[in-house]
């Protein structure tokens, strides 16, 4: 049974983008050690509540090696008073730094992946067209945001094609590294070759037109959307003011 699109997907396309921007700013403005982890916890709840909960797991998997690296770097190798965790002696200051950095990383990664999950190119382009913004710039944004997923799809196809031709992908890390070359080269060369073909096709379809693009179904920018974006801006400004006041005092 499909539950339909979640709140993040139904919202005006600018709102999840604004939320991601605000979360990124807050991740750096909130003081450690507990500000960034608290923000991360809030982002996890927000993602689950707005229908992009899948981003939480993906972001955690992406961040996990970096989290381990941060603990090793700052905790094990850090200076100052230490605390014993099993056989290890970890720097308390280093751990605090690692927790703050890990929280920042988790919050930004979860927010970005959540936004990408909710992102619908056609809705975004209609929203920008309705505002009279440059279609070329908007298309560039969309192409950039979609580059990752498109490369992933293409990589899967290339990998399958190479496997049918006898490529063995698996085993030890060195073996996997050796198998990367026959996948990466066709992936990159194919993507580069595709650029020209796609550019030609888009030009033939009026992308170069110097007229205002017609939005086919511009998404509603509701009062709730506008209020959310204003609240996010106010939150970021308040955090900035608070930190500035602290630094100046």
């Amino acid at each position: 049974m499909s539950l339909g699109p979640g709140l993040a997907e139904r919202a005006h396309p600018f709102t999840p983008i604004a939320a991601t921007g605000a979360i990124t700013a807050l991740a750096f403005l909130l003081p450690g050690p507990w500000g960034p982890p608290a923000l991360y916890a809030a982002v996890v709840l927000l993602a689950a509540a707005t229908g992009v909960g899948g981003a939480v797991r993906t972001a955690a998997l992406v961040c996990l090696p970096l989290w381990v690296f941060l603990v090793l770097l700052h905790g094990v190798l850090g200076d100052g008073p230490a605390t014993a965790v099993g056989p290890l002696r970890l720097s308390r200051d280093g751990l605090a730094l690692a927790v703050a950095q890990a929280g920042r990383l988790g919050a930004i990664a979860t927010a970005t992946l959540g936004m990408l999950r909710a992102f619908r190119p056609s809705r975004f382009l209609d929203a920008t067209a309705a505002r009279g913004w440059s279609f070329h710039a908007a298309y560039l944004v969309v192409a950039t945001l979609q580059a990752g997923p498109r490369l992933r799809e293409r990589a899967a196809l290339v990998l399958e094609a190479q496997r049918t031709r006898g490529l063995r992908y698996g085993g030890s890390p060195p073996a996997r590294l050796r198998a990367l070359a026959p996948v990466v080269l066709p992936l990159v060369l194919g993507a580069l070759a595709e650029v020209d073909d796609r550019a030609m096709a888009l030009e033939a379809r009026g992308l170069a037109a110097e007229v205002r693009r017609t939005p086919l179904a511009p998404p509603a920018d509701t009062t709730a959307d506008r209020a959310t974006r204003l609240a996010l801006l106010a939150l970021v400004l308040a955090a900035l003011g608070w930190r500035l006041a602290g630094w100046l005092a």
Partner: protein, 288 residues
């Protein structure tokens, strides 16, 4: 090999495609892809560019669309006008915007990449041209219906089969009601029913007064659709004329792309030219 120019049918010259002494070289290529091509293709007819691999058919279409050498690199010399405008100049391209349909051999690469549904995909070009929404909706529905893919309107373009995608890509050009069609192997991904629909569409578009130029190696598919065939080989025009006359002869087999499968069969059986081109002609000839 003699260099032949291919004049258009009387009275249909000015507003179509006029090519004079066109020479095109890809970057780093020793030999030109187009080597002095002269050609006139009038509106209201289906022109078929026919030649083996490397003959220059695709390159000629790209040059006519103003896409080569801008996107491909290389050098171009000679004269070229499409619908009375020069596609190699900015002013010409502006004049041709929305009037020329270009269909390349890879339908997946013609997708906008931003449409969630087939309907949005087909509406992409008219939306870019700033048409009113009502006009876009009506034209999109009509184009999808003419390609017999109206039932796909709500599907995601990325989820379509190759044949469905090819029809959608053609519908995405048909929506503009273009004055000129430049199609490169448009039937390659289509099944038999799709090729029949395509042939009918090309005839309908020509009857509407559009210029239709198709590059195709598929003689079976193009016979009956084309009014005129232009034989190209190594960047030169070798011959031009009615498809039935040229394809039945032996010239298309000498360093050429060949002919229909029935003609190939007749030739293999040792029958002298003119060869039958269709099953019906073959049956009539062999039952004598």
């Amino acid at each position: 090999m003699a260099r032949v120019s291919a004049p258009a049918e009387e009275g249909l010259v000015g507003a179509g495609l006029v090519v004079e002494g066109l020479v095109f070289r890809y970057p780093g290529a020793e030999t030109p892809a187009l080597d002095g091509v002269s050609l006139e293709c009038g509106r209201g007819l289906v022109h078929w560019l026919f030649g083996p691999l490397g003959a220059g058919c695709s390159t000629l279409l790209l040059a006519a669309a103003g896409l080569a050498p801008r996107h491909t690199g290389g050098t171009l010399e000679g004269g070229l006008t499409l619908l009375g405008a020069d596609p190699q100049r900015d002013a010409g391209r502006r004049a041709l915007l929305g009037r020329v349909a270009v269909v390349t051999p890879a339908p997946a690469l013609q997708l906008s990449g931003v449409a969630a549904t087939v309907e949005e995909e087909v509406a992409f070009a008219p939306a870019n041209l700033g048409w009113p929404v009502e006009r876009i909706r009506a034209a999109t529905a009509a184009a999808l219906a003419r390609l017999e893919v109206a039932h796909l309107a709500g599907r995601a373009p990325a989820a379509l089969s190759g044949g469905e995608l090819q029809r959608v890509v053609i519908a995405a050009m048909l929506v503009l009601s273009p004055d000129a069609w430049l199609l490169d192997e448009p039937g390659a991904a289509l099944d038999a029913a799709g090729r029949r629909r395509l042939r009918a569409l090309l005839r309908e578009e020509a009857a509407r007064g559009a210029l239709v130029v198709v590059a195709s190696e598929d003689a079976d598919a193009m016979l009956g659709a084309a009014d005129r065939v232009v034989l190209l080989d190594r960047g030169r025009v070798r011959a031009a004329g009615a498809p039935e006359a040229l394809l039945a002869g032996d010239e298309v087999w000498r360093e050429g792309p060949g002919s229909t499968s029935i003609a190939a069969l007749a030739r293999a059986a040792g029958l002298p030219a003119p060869h039958p081109l269709t099953v019906e002609e073959g049956v009539a000839r062999w039952s004598r």
